[in-house]
Subunit: 380 residues, 2 copies
């Protein structure tokens, strides 16, 4: 293997694939990045078994400008951490790489020479084969929003592995993402394609979706999503993320989401966020993060919390409208702040069906999202 | 105590004094900020015993614009962490504060009301009394540079408490700061005053100087420094930092600094920094961070390092000049990078007196600084 490649192309591809690497992995080969060089260009692959990321660098740009000059095709696995940091710091834009005996590689740039201990590319796990494919396409910016709007609600408890993932459901013309950790739930949906999609349903790790969101750039264009029985492939430009589908059955959450409310509140997202943010400063001193919300006369909403050691806070804000029965409810303010952070709508609607029933939060801008928080049982 | 104060003045003063608070302190009163209100304005004080920071907020600006309206003078101690974060997030610029029974305080801003559990101001330790004062004045930007140029070299080992501090020495017209952890040394000096200063010598905690540097803003003007037997006071604008002088005798380092060299090297700071930075990526994998430097023909300098598991790196750069005997030396690259980070000079001079003698680094821009690194004994 022998080639010359432009640093910034190599650096960008390496930044993407290195996100698959899990520092805690015990297989030495997975601490490396595999480099495959052909006349068409360079392919980089990194993996932690569950997730594999692959990025290709073409030999030339669409305008015909040379990116890679291949003197000799070949493959090698090089230490990822060293490679990623070293490439960034090389003195010149041109980087020369060639393999020597025993998987060793020589990198040259300007007057810098690096000998790297490499590993056998044959030992690197193969990229998952995708059979019985079902695919759909969605704009990169849409998928990025949808992941952001749901992924915060996944469980961090390894005791319910299925809940550490986000459920994806594709119906003929609609894609829904849903996450829950049993205390709260986040769900968002968007129109997809021309309405003749096959039904697709899978659960993928929330952590991996957070990494996927880092790979999707503003100019990434469409993301192509291909699902099989055990794997999902996300194609973003020249980068491919292969992700293992989580085993198990995702719980049916449709029955716990109330559709009719005893009371409804429409408020400014910014105003209620600021009030709960201040109440949280006291609430967090108690482990439960409890904040109380109460409605009063003339669209008044009172948000309050207290901490035995520090004191108490009480806030009033004016709702746009309050309908139905008066509300007096307690909830985990951290969960509410997580929701308010991802709602872009200027106003939001909160629905209540009683002090022990789920609280439902929805943006009023017409976006098809829904957030659920279980209230907290308090004595007062 | 009863007053109305503008949020951004209170916030700024609080950010400054809160830097004295040590979360690990076991005295509950020291988790608070003391607030003293008089007709002249508000004084805030925070302390961890060793360091006390005090900031004053005048009742009005120099132009006569009202900052504080005092309805009733008084004092109280309020929980620092809550106060600092809450003030920042208050909805309005006007903040009303009044004490109630039992040191409780009520804060109001817009429709936000906070009841805080306060503490007895009488229990708060008094600000150190300064007797037998000796003072000098130096520009804020100069003192900030001098601290930055030395503080990185203090020891982090609590077993030599005196070395966790920076030595300050004022001679008639010159101030010198010096820090060492026995493996390296940093020293910088500047002209001060009109040459009839009294001799002053003291050692203060490096950590506290790092905090002092955060208080000194670009427009802080002069810093007045007053020393007694046991305390130093730094006056920066309306903020005062009182700092305990470290007990013990600072070691005499004058004899270990060579003044004549067997070889001298003049190189570009940027070029040698980049080369050592890359060599460090491999060197850090071995605990000693060892990088080798070797001079050759035609002003060539070779920087190299290796890691048994990863490989090796070798770099060539061209020195501006090399005089004296050929050099072949090993050192801790982390220590060298720390030095290169604080040298603003475009070029630097490195002096060698043998493979086991201290390496001396100096900027060539005429600044009176000197850095020393002990070389590392290697077998090859």
């Amino acid at each position: 293997m022998k080639l010359t490649i432009l640093k910034h192309w190599l650096n960008e591809a390496m930044q993407h694939v290195s996100k698959a690497i899990n520092g805690k992995n015990s297989l030495p080969i997975l601490s490396g990045i595999k480099m495959d060089v052909t006349a068409q260009g360079v392919t980089l692959t990194a993996s932690d078994i569950d997730t594999t990321i692959q990025a290709t660098i073409p030999a030339a740009t669409e305008d015909g400008a040379q990116i890679v000059t291949v003197d000799e095709p070949g493959s090698v696995v090089l230490p990822a951490k060293l490679l990623v940091e070293m490439i960034k710091k090389l003195p010149k834009e041109e980087v020369h790489i060639e393999t020597e005996v025993g998987f060793a590689a020589l990198l040259k740039s300007g007057k810098t020479k690096i000998n790297m201990v490499g590993m056998d590319p044959e030992e690197f796990p193969a990229v998952p084969a995708l059979t019985e494919e079902r695919s759909f396409t969605i704009a990169g910016s849409d998928i990025r929003d949808m992941i952001r709007e749901t992924v915060f609600a996944v469980s961090t408890q390894e005791t319910s592995p299925i809940l550490t993932g986000v459920l994806w459901q594709l119906e003929p013309s609609k894609l829904t993402l849903l996450a829950t950790d049993r205390h709260r739930l986040a769900q968002t949906a968007a129109e997809v394609g021309d309405g003749d999609n096959a039904l697709i349903k899978f659960v993928v790790s929330g952590k991996m979706l957070t990494e996927l969101n880092k790979v999707i750039a503003d100019d990434s264009g469409d993301v192509e999503i291909t699902a099989t029985q055990s794997q999902v492939l996300f194609k973003v430009g020249r980068t491919r993320l292969y992700c293992r589908i989580l085993d198990g059955t995702y719980p049916d959450t449709s029955k716990i989401i109330p559709t009719a409310f005893k009371s409804e509140l429409v408020v400014s997202t910014k105003a209620i966020n600021a009030a709960i943010d201040r109440a949280f400063l006291l609430a967090r001193e108690e482990k439960t993060n409890i904040v109380r919300l109460e409605t009063g006369e003339d669209n008044a909403v009172t948000v309050s919390s207290n901490s035995s050691g520090l004191g108490s806070v009480s806030e009033q804000l004016e709702a746009e409208s309050i309908t139905g029965e008066p509300v007096r409810i307690s909830f985990n303010s951290k969960y509410m702040l997580d929701v308010l952070k991802v709602i872009d709508s200027e106003q939001l609607r909160i629905g209540f069906t009683g002090p022990m029933s789920p609280i439902i939060i929805k943006p009023v801008d017409g976006k098809d999202s829904l957030y659920l928080i279980l209230p907290y049982r308090t004595t007062n």
